[in-house]
Structures are given as C-alpha cells and as structure tokens.
C-alpha cells in the first residue's frame, strides 16, 4: 500500500503547484478540492488495518475538504463575480519557483528531523511543503478568496503532518480540527460575502483603511 500513499502524496504536491501556478480562481478551488479528496484517501492508504476510526476520518475529510468547502467557495465567487487573481504581489512563474523551493526545503528539513519511523517517509516533507506553499499563497495573493484557498492549503499541510500521529493523537482531535477549519472558513466565507457587498469586490487590498 505504501506505493499508493506515495502516489497520493505526489499528487498532493502537484495540486499545490497547480494552485500556485494558475491565475483562475476556479482552477485554484478545483485544485484544493482535489487535494481534499487526496487527503481523504490518505488515511485509508496509510492505515495498516481499517478501523472505524480510519474510515470515519477519511469519509469526514472527503466530505468537508473535497465537497462542502469547495462548493461554498465556488458559490462565493459566483456571488462576487470574480474570475481571476489580478496581478499578485509575486508573479506566477516566481511563485512556482518559490513553490519548488518550498518542496525542496521540505525534503531538506525532513531529512534533518528525526522523523518517527511509523510514518510514511514522504509524508512529513510533503506536509511541510504544503504548509509553506499555503503560506506563500496567503502572503502573495490579493483576492480574499485566494487567501482563503491559501489558508485551506495551510490547514491541509498541517493535517498531513497530523497523519503521522493518527495512532497517538486521539480521535477527538481530528474532529476538533475539521470542526475548526469548517467554522473558520465558514465565518471567513460570511466575511468574504460581506466584503463583497461592501466593496463590490473581493480585492482585500481595498481593506487598508485602518492604518497608523
């Protein structure tokens, strides 16, 4: 089964890069949705034996990360009638290179860290890379929605790392995580909706009224 896991993780990296490289919001959201699906499959792929816990976890993950949130985001962009990210602070090529660097860094750091043997060796590097790429998207994009996407990727990366702990960290935790992400993005969505109504755009760079 390890090989499938590795394959899935590879795909995760590809989705990361897809988000980094595409200017169309729709594509970004689809990529994140795909990533959510992969994340949902991973517990099953990693698990030595299928417990209720594992199945429930993957099911819940798929529902939330691959279905609910993406649909919600798609609804939001339809509401806001935004198509694409207009000039990001860092160009797409540049951010792709950054992303590649992030992946490399992820592997570099992971090799230094004493990774617990239980986990799939590629898991930690990919997790770190995803976290970093999420941060990159958060810091370099302008549209509020894109930043939400970035935040989702950040959470996904953390979730990936959490997978190394499926044995030790109790079940409640994942639930908490999912709930929090859900609540988080849900409220963020409402805010996004309000931003859209107040400013007729989701360009968060309009939100610079409060300053010193």
């Amino acid at each position: 089964m390890q090989t499938t896991a590795e394959l899935l993780l590879l795909l995760v990296v590809l989705t990361d890069l897809a988000v980094l490289g595409s200017s169309r919001l729709r594509t970004c959201i689809r990529a994140v949705a795909a990533q959510g699906l992969l994340l949902g499959l991973l517990p099953v792929a990693l698990a030595s034996r299928y417990t209720v816990h594992v199945v429930a976890l993957s099911a819940g993950t798929v529902v939330v990360k691959a279905v609910v949130l993406p649909l919600f985001l798609l609804w939001a962009i339809r509401e806001a009638a935004v198509r694409r990210e207009v000039e990001p602070l860092v160009g797409y090529i540049a951010s792709l290179l950054l992303g590649a660097a992030a992946v490399a860094a992820g592997f570099a750091i992971a090799t230094r860290l004493p990774v617990p043997d239980v986990a799939e060796p590629v898991l930690v590097p990919v997790a770190l890379a995803t976290v970093m790429i999420g941060l990159i998207v958060l810091t370099t994009r302008r549209k509020a929605l894109t930043q939400v996407v970035g935040y989702l990727m950040l959470e996904n990366g953390i979730y990936l790392f959490g997978l190394t702990q499926t044995e030790s960290v109790p079940f409640l935790l994942e639930v908490g995580v999912l709930l929090d992400i859900f609540a988080g993005v849900f409220i963020m969505g409402i805010v996004v909706f309000h931003i859209n109504r107040e400013f007729d755009s989701l360009d968060s760079s309009h939100l610079t009224e409060l300053r010193d």
Binding site: V131, L135, D180, H194, L207, E209, L210, D212
Partner: protein, 479 residues
C-alpha cells in the same frame, strides 16, 4: 464536577441566548448574561477554597496558573457583563442577540482554555475564542469593523494553525515516551525524555502561534485595528482576558521546555520577543492619535513585558504572573472607561476631545488614574510587577536588557501621557455642563480600579501562594 459546570454554564447560556429567536427583547438576554457571569464567578471563587480538582480523566484541572487566569477572566467578564447592561441601553444597532451569545461563547471558550490540562484541548479552546469574538468585533456592521474582523480572522487563524502544527510537533516529540499524549502533567513528569529537536520546533511554532493570539510584535498587527473598531468592552475582554489565555498557552509550553532543561534555548527567544514588542509599542504610541489604538499598543507593550519576565526567569517569572493579573484588570478598566468616552463624545480620536475631567468628571478622572496605573506608577499593581521584572533583569545581570526596557518604558509613558492628558485636561470644546454618567457604566471601571490599587498595596496570602506556585512551575521563584 465544578469544572464541568464552569464550562457548561456559559456554553448553555450562549446557545440559549443565541438560538431563541426574539430579536427585540434584550432585557432577559442581559439578565441571562449577568446571571451566568455571576454564577461563573461564584463557582470560580469557590475553587479557591479547595483547589486541585480534575475532570474528564485529567483533561480538565485547576492548577495555580490556570486558576489565576480563570479568576482573572471570570472577574473581567462579570464586570463587563454589568457594563453591558448600561452599554446595550445606550448603543446597540439590534437586539444584542448575537452580541450577548457571542460574549457567553467567549466565556465558555476562555474557561476551557484556562482549565484544560490537555494541550490540544487548550488549542481548541483558543481557536474557539477566535470565532466567538469575531461577531462581537463586527458588532457595528460597517466597513471599518468589517476590515478589522477580516484581518483579525485571517491573521489569528494563520497563527492558530501554526500553533496546531506546534502541537503535532509536541506529540511527535512525545513519541515513545510513557504517559498520556499531550497531558500537561505527563509531559512535565517525563520532560527529560522528550525528543529535544521536536520539542524545540514545537516551542517555536507554539510561540509564534499563541504569540499571534497574544499580540506579540511582529505578529501584533491585528491588534490596533481590532481594538480600535470593536466595542470598547469587547476590546477590554480581549486585551484583558483573551491575551491572558493565549499567554497561558505560551506559559504551558514554556513550563515543559524549561522542565526539559531547554532554558538556555528558550530564554533568549522570549527576551527578544519581549524587547521587540516593547519597541514596537513605543514606536506606535509616540504620536498616536486614537485612544483605543493607543490602548491596543499598550497591550502589545504589556504582552512584551510578560514574555520578557518569563525569559528572564528567577523572580521574573513571579513578576510575570503577577503582571498577568495586573495588566488584565488594568486593561479592562481602561477599555471600559474608553467606552464611556466613546459613548459620550462619539469618537475615540484624540483630536478635538478636550477637558474630559470637566465634561465627564468620573470617567475623566478614571482615565487619568488609569494612565498612571497602566504605565506602572506606584501605588498601582502594575508597578509591583514591572518592578519585580526589572529586578530579575538587573539581578540576572541583563543590565542592557534593563536599560533598553527602561528607555522604552519612559518613552511609552510620555507618549501615552501626551494623548491621555491632552484629552482629559484643558478647556472643553463645548461648555456643556458636566453630564451625569450611568452607574452601570461606572461601577465596572471603579471596581477594577479598586482591585488594581489594592494589588499594588496588598497581596492576599492565598493569591500570594498561588503566584509563588505558578512562578516555580515556570522555572522561577517568589522574591
């Protein structure tokens, strides 16, 4: 049992006030709010008589530090609840349904943080605070408050996410170590066996993550916007209660790392963050033009002092814990007074506001007293704690840290004095007669002021014991 009650009371009240759909009738909601707050405070006080309970097989407990934070939050919340009575009479766009239930939800979340002995649970609590507070910040429903809540949500969500990563690292560090995962007691018991590299990484991420929630520079950027736009009493609850809970998170992981003997690695970081926060606060306080933003930066300053004391160790730890209480109460006091000013003048901008002690005698005087209290002038409480932290700096041989700290404190004092005294003194623009202020709006600040003053002159023995315990837990000791 009481611990469960403590958590359930506000949670249920929050649901009740939130779900029951009667948008207009605020009276019973406020009643529920005050009632829940009173009950909460009562139970909290009862904990002092016989501490050491635990519930949910050790996930909840009231160790000295947690109990201190819990008491602080509970006190603040009760005061804020009484204040809400007057506040909702004066200024509320709608029935206060979201407002009240948000407040109660906040109380539930912070209680969870203060009581949780399980670090993941603590994290969940902190995360919950973020989302319970958001609607409160958005209370005014206008562009500015929208921008504020947006920035607050994104920044603190990112922070909390990094904290979660830190929690996972901690769990990884605990791999193969006996004891239940992420239970504080077990972590401390076997701190020596934790995998040091992962422990360090965990500390870094938790410091950044919870530091963001605390508002340590440079992760403080949400603070002025949020406090500036949120209703004053929400600002007070956040600056006094929420930041204290976030600090509790930092304190927990510091406990573990200190116990694991990583002090030399940890302390420079804490000191650095402390000084950077002080410096940032000073820069933005000099020439600040808005009272609530000023208080926000003052909060950044005091968060800096907290971690500074933690990093200096020794009596510094004691000073930090004491300062946690003092700062919480003083911030509540000042924010509520600022709320009165805003209610009376309609703005918290300094320009154009003059002679408050003539137009608004009680609040004006409270404001000026608060200035001295929060800048660490004797005989108010913060003086003792700041003095103790300074003793740790000088006594520990960190003379330069002490020098920088003093310089920044002096600059901050002058900056704050310029703005606050400028508003309080002088000839009022309008020669309207001094207006009579509602008792509901004054009782809270006066009570807090009394407490802060008391803590400067006398520390009750039980409190003293709790402070000493907490200080020793943080690797320091009582002076």
């Amino acid at each position: 049992m009481r611990l469960i009650v403590l958590w359930l009371v506000p949670a249920i009240a929050a649901l009740a006030t939130g779900l029951v759909p009667s948008p207009r009738v605020t009276r019973w909601r406020v009643a529920v709010l005050v009632g829940a707050a009173a009950l909460h405070l009562g139970v909290t006080v009862s904990l002092w008589s016989s501490p050491g309970e635990s519930a949910l097989n050790g996930w909840l407990g009231d160790d000295p530090l947690g109990l201190l934070v819990l008491t602080l939050v509970s006190t603040l919340f009760f005061v804020a609840a009484t204040y809400t009575v007057g506040y909702l009479r004066r200024a509320t766009p709608r029935g206060g349904r979201v407002f009240v239930s948000g407040l109660l939800g906040f109380l539930a979340a912070t209680t969870l943080v203060a009581l949780s002995q399980h670090l993941a649970l603590l994290w969940v609590g902190l995360e919950a605070t973020t989302f319970t507070v958001a609607p409160l910040i958005f209370h005014r429903h206008d562009r500015r408050s929208l921008e504020a809540v947006w920035k607050y949500l994104v920044i603190s969500s990112v922070g909390i996410a990094l904290a979660l990563l830190g929690i996972f690292f901690l769990a990884t560090a605990q791999h193969g170590v006996p004891g239940n995962p992420l239970i504080l007691g077990d972590l401390l018991a076997h701190a020596g066996e934790l995998q040091p590299m992962w422990l360090r990484a965990a500390f870094l991420f938790l410091l950044v993550g919870f530091g963001t929630k605390m508002g340590l520079a440079p992760m403080h950027t949400w603070k002025p916007d949020t406090y500036g736009e949120a209703p004053a009493l929400v600002g007070g609850l956040m600056a006094g209660g929420l930041t204290s809970c976030a600090f509790l998170g930092v304190a927990r992981i510091t406990e573990v790392t200190m116990r694991a003997g990583l002090g030399p690695f940890v302390q420079p970081l804490l000191i650095a963050f402390g000084l950077v926060s002080l410096a940032t606060a000073a820069v933005f306080i000099l020439g600040q033009g808005d009272l609530k933003r000023l208080l926000a930066y003052s909060s950044v300053e005091h968060m800096g002092l907290l971690v500074l004391g933690l990093g200096l160790g020794g009596v510094g730890a004691y000073g930090t814990v004491l300062h946690l209480i003092n700062n919480g109460l003083a911030k509540g006091w000042l924010f509520l007074v600022a709320g009165n000013v805003v209610l009376a003048t309609g703005t918290s901008a300094a320009s154009g506001t003059r002679g408050l002690i003539r137009t608004l005698p009680a609040s004006g005087i409270l404001l000026v007293m608060g200035l001295f209290a929060v800048t660490g002038s004797p005989p108010f409480g913060p003086f003792l704690s700041e003095f103790t932290i300074l003793r740790a700096a000088v006594g520990g041989g960190h003379v330069w840290v002490a020098a920088i700290m003093l310089f920044l404190l002096a600059a901050i004092f002058v900056g704050m004095a310029v703005l606050v005294l400028g508003m309080a003194l002088g000839e009022p623009a309008t020669d309207a007669p001094a207006e009579r202020e509602s008792a509901w709006l004054l009782a809270g600040p006066i009570a807090l002021a009394g407490l802060v003053l008391l803590l400067g002159l006398y520390i009750p023995a039980p409190l003293q014991r709790a402070l000493a315990h907490a200080a020793t837990a943080l690797g320091g000791g009582a002076p």
